[in-house]
Symmetry: C2
Subunit: 449 residues, 2 copies
């Protein structure tokens, strides 16, 4: 029977990062990755294969190459059970392999709503498999009436890309909440994102719950609780994902309150030789250690760097999910880090919110000059930064990471106003107008008076 | 005799920021700015008026507008003396004005080398006065052989912009050190910047000291210590600046070891009612509190936010200069924060240096895909981040500020590898390939083994 030191289940962002990290810290250990998808897509790139990139085969995670470079054996197979007493993994093709340490990084599954009609033809969940995405793209090319259910990041990005794919088609986003992206942004930032979508002749229906899909073989319409019906020959389900825990549960690994595999601060499950990371693992908030439902590739990779390093020697600690996002809608950056106003109030913080807006160049005549707006949310008293939101120029894609860095270090507004930002005419706002610093200054003034 | 609560001397980045900050914290105080330049240029934008922006009048700091918005009176005049015993400022036009608190923010003066010929026609220092810059631009337009003395940021940017202004002219940079930008980057990064300049058919002469300029009325050539001569009908002196301390010295304000006005942690001079900030103030390093020769608008504005807030009530402390720079040469971003390898070794640190390079998009087929390289320098033992350098895509302009934020909080490589960077296909590297995190991981591995 085959035996390796480390088995990693899953070949997407979490599995790849856990494997690369394990190799760095344990150069002498044998490591095997078992993955059940042949062509693994870059998860965040999936919407873009429909328009900007144009081909699922141009959005592949270079898993096999990276594993070869890191001397990690790849087994293309499906793990059907984990026999923890014997430290064995059993696969669909009948192999049994012994491990010393196991990493469960088999991700999440798209949520399929419990409504009639989801099994009709041309109703698609977003699956992390490039071969499935290829057939989804082929169907989409011939569609005329798209309905995207769910106005989160994936829904907004999918709608924009489908409109690029079929400029003459009707594209409609249906969202249960009163705003798209409401879980991530304050309402006025959501409204800016909605405008960027509406400007592309994409329709948005908010406060609408889908009650069913109907059609004769293929989907033909989407029914809403309000009684409205939307014509549809292609429906995309973009309402989120759930941890893919069936394998872990069958092996007696415990789940946490957010329905992922329960893990301790070191990414160990209730079996200390079995680690879990990425979408399949339960998460806690950085701010109050309460359960977090966030699932992001950036969180998955951070957790995997903990799990991979900790396999034979505890080197790292998980401090919980901050949540740093960005997207690009209608050529505008929308980004957020940490808590929104609603999140902060729900967690019991007393807060001050302040904004600063300026162009991203100086002077304004420099090429690429565009507005960039920054919102910061601070706790009153401690003055510690809890959250930030950005709208506008593409430099916001890294500026949100300045905010994320400051949140992670629990920096106060008193320190942020003294931040010595590097600025340049061709790259950023001027030092006088630097949005991050001025937003902090505005917050301090509010807190001082 | 006129009396105001606060007088600020200087109308550039430091003076403007001190005034705006003072107004925020002291809403009831009367504030006056005295400035001796009518049209104040945005300092970092000066090189760009020669090419990209094309007109000094499109590169103005909106000083008067900002002062009006902040209820700060502006006096267009030259301060000729500070009478500290009587708390008076005397101006060239004969006014005497009484102050309670004074902020000296009158900047720096370009260094003119002590060599023959600097008074010839068409030899220019870079002065922060848009009207002077206008005549410099007019002369430059008719030139055929430019020599830029000094291969720092300003020299590199000026050379590139002069080549844009006069594409058929010869442009030569003469630099004393063995590399351009050597004070800011490690040698291999300097070489990348030099290549970006050479690719534009601009000539670079390093290890060359200018011994004199010669010509009949107008400059005709530049003589070098090596015996070489360079034909020149326009010479730009870009070898740095010195604090403009004459006024302060005459008033008995003490200077510090770096030849600026000596200030304490609160930006007070030896007279506690007189503050100094910006280029005119002496500076210390964030790392070891030793004298620092850095002069940047971002440092000036940070200091001015301290001085302006501390006028009547000590609210803020200066922790010294980190030094965060960026520039854009040949459509590539070059940025740096904190210490270079040479700086760190000079300060006695034992260090580890590590690099990570990846494209700034994911997948690579996303528009705007370009390489972005990150170097990090850590102290061995503490593992604390001391410095970073960036080469490549424009997102580096804000990514350097992530590095600056981490340096300012004295964050260790152990924490940086767990950084939850927000990533997006259209904006950044993938979370698997995120350069900052991977450079930190590479450094940790070096330190662990």
């Amino acid at each position: 029977m085959k035996a390796v030191d480390v088995i990693i289940i899953g070949g997407s962002a979490a599995g790849v990062t856990a494997a690369v990290t394990a190799r760095k810290y344990y150069p002498d250990k044998s490591i095997m990755m078992i993955k059940n998808v042949v062509n693994v897509p870059i998860p965040c790139g999936i919407p873009y294969i429909f328009g900007t990139v144009g081909d699922p085969m141009k959005n592949l995670l270079p898993t096999d190459m990276m594993m070869a470079n890191n001397k990690v054996e790849v087994l293309q197979d499906e793990v059907v059970s984990i026999l923890r007493d014997e430290k064995l993994v059993a696969t669909a093709s009948g192999e049994k392999i012994h491990y010393e340490k196991l990493v469960v990084a088999n991700g999440s599954l798209p949520i399929v709503p419990r409504i009639p009609g989801t099994n009709l033809k041309n109703v698609f969940s977003i699956v992390k498999n490039s071969d499935s995405l290829k057939s989804m793209l082929e169907s989409a090319k011939n569609s005329q009436d798209f309905v995207v259910i769910g106005g989160g990041f994936i829904g907004m990005e999918m709608a924009e890309e489908l409109k690029k794919l079929c400029p003459n088609a009707n594209v409609t986003i249906v969202e249960m909440q009163s705003h798209c992206l409401q879980l991530v942004y304050d309402p006025d930032f959501c409204a800016l994102a909605e405008k960027a979508i509406l400007d592309q002749n994409i329709c948005i229906m908010t406060n609408e719950t889908v009650t069913g899909l109907a059609g004769n073989e293929s989907v033909e319409k989407v029914m809403l609780a309000s009684g409205k019906e939307v014509k549809a020959d292609c429906v995309i389900l973009g309402i989120g994902c759930i941890p893919n825990t069936a394998l872990a549960e069958a092996a007696g690994l415990k789940l946490g309150p957010a329905k992922g595999i329960a893990v301790n601060r070191y990414m160990q499950t209730n079996d200390p030789d079995v680690f879990a990371c990425g979408d399949v693992a339960d998460k806690i908030s950085f701010f109050d250690h309460k359960p977090s439902a966030l699932r992001l590739a950036s969180i998955a990779t951070a957790e995997s760097r903990i799990a991979g390093a900790n396999l034979f020697n505890i080197l790292r600690t998980n401090t919980g999910v901050i949540g740093v996002f960005s997207t690009f809608i209608g050529k505008k950056t929308f980004a957020a880090a940490g808590l929104t106003e609603r999140d902060a109030l729900q967690k019991g913080y007393r807060i001050v919110i302040s904004d600063a807006e300026s162009i991203n160049r100086h002077p304004g005549g420099m090429p690429g000059s565009e507005p960039l707006k920054v919102r910061l949310i601070f706790e009153v008293g401690s003055k510690i930064l809890l959250g930030g939101q950005i709208y506008g120029a593409t430099s916001g894609g890294e500026l949100i990471n300045v905010i994320g860095a400051l949140i992670s270090q629990r920096v106060s507004a008193d320190d942020i106003v003294l931040f010595q930002a590097g600025t340049h005419p061709a790259l950023t706002a001027s030092p006088v107008a630097y949005q991050l610093v001025n937003a902090a200054e505005n917050a301090l003034v509010k807190m001082t008076r």
